[in-house]
């Protein structure tokens, strides 16, 4: 008999010392290729209250649009100084911040390019399994034709696109209610 999936359980409130280290929020070194970006945001619950006990993870392609993974067989260069994984805990005001580079485009269905995006996992007390979303970039030409964005109802798409604010990219995540972020079933 084939083995069966192990169920997910919440990360709970006490994971930080085990899972999150200072420095995990930076995906780059001084030698990483690409346009440096800072992503900042706030994680909010259904009352608009800060979620101060969450962990957010990023997974992204490098500046050329290649993932550092054996199943990405594209003929694009890997970057020895960029691996594409980052992690941050939210602070007492629900804030998080990442330092990374803008990813290049990766292929989607039919080998059409997807718009540049960052894959996001959210873990917290009260989340029995992770939530998954994507960060897209403002003013990006490929957004209009992106197959994932086009899967989402037009009025909800803006929740997936970061906005420029004070030299950073602002991406708030709302778990529930008005302006609820679009989450994905992966």
């Amino acid at each position: 008999m084939s083995p069966l999936q192990t169920p997910s359980q919440t990360v709970g409130p006490f994971f930080k010392p085990a899972l999150v280290r200072s420095g995990d929020e930076s995906l780059v070194t001084s030698r990483s290729r690409g346009e440096r970006i800072t992503i900042e945001g706030c994680l909010l619950d259904g009352d608009g209250a800060a979620v101060s006990d969450a962990m957010i993870e990023l997974w992204q392609a490098n500046a050329d649009g290649r993932y550092d993974h054996p199943d990405d067989s594209q003929e694009k260069l890997l970057d020895p100084d960029f691996h594409g994984f980052g992690r941050a805990a939210t602070d007492e005001l629900g804030r998080f911040r990442f330092h990374t580079i803008k990813p290049g485009s990766v292929p989607g269905p039919g080998n059409l390019l997807q718009a540049p995006h960052i894959n996001v996992s959210i873990f917290a007390r009260g989340l029995l399994k992770r939530l998954i979303t994507r960060i897209y970039f403002p003013g990006e030409q490929l957004n209009a034709a992106d197959f994932v964005l086009n899967t989402v109802a037009p009025e909800r798409r803006p929740t997936l696109v970061a906005r420029n604010e004070n030299g950073a990219l602002r991406f708030d995540i709302v778990l529930q209610g008005v302006n609820e972020t679009v989450f994905f079933d992966v």
């Binding site: 997910s8 993974h69 989607g108 917290a124 009260g126 989450f183």
Partner: protein
Amino acid sequence: MNPPVGYRRETRGAHPPYEHPAYAGTHKRTPRHAPVRLEHTLSEITGPHFPRERLASGENDLTHFDGGEALGERIIVTGRVLDEDGSAIPHTAIEIWQANAAGRYAHAEDVHKAPLDPHFEGIGKVVTDEQGMYRFMTVKPGAYPWRNHHNAWRPNHIHFSLFGPSFATRLITQMYFPGDPLLALDPIFNSVPDRSARERLIATFDIEVTVPEYALGYRFDFVLRGRNSTPTAG
């Protein structure tokens, strides 16, 4: 490039829903919209390696910390990380955290009035070998109250975080102990819809893993989502 071969979806009944009324923490954190189903692309079938520099310092013995030995019942936990085809997942990291034997986490925000143990941090990590095997030693974590409802106590449990081969296979879960009377009362354990799936979260006591005169042995396998046999749609 050929279309990527995606991963299998969550098995129905095997994972909790987001909303679980008995678990108060879900009330304000559950999205009102159903998640939008995403066909798997390169973004989902690839995934992070655990940072290599962190793997260098394996921490498979949680029973010694800061120059002393932790209090409590020593246990060994061992098993395999597999996919749904039964194939081993080698060289994958498992992050571990847990309360001490008195039911207290070494965490600033744990206010349970149980003693801290200066020689137990409750943090570890292991990497599976070529056969997908892992093994670590710790002390059995204590139960603790958590104020979800009147007289709410979490059953003894150990937290685990696994990556597997892709973004789609990421899993955070908890392992429980056989015969724990608190399991029947625990909203988090019981959030898993299928009884048989819940039971997969309970370790098995194994006398063969038990080390004479030293530590009790438990077995626990992790099964991550497997791969489809054909490319994803599109």
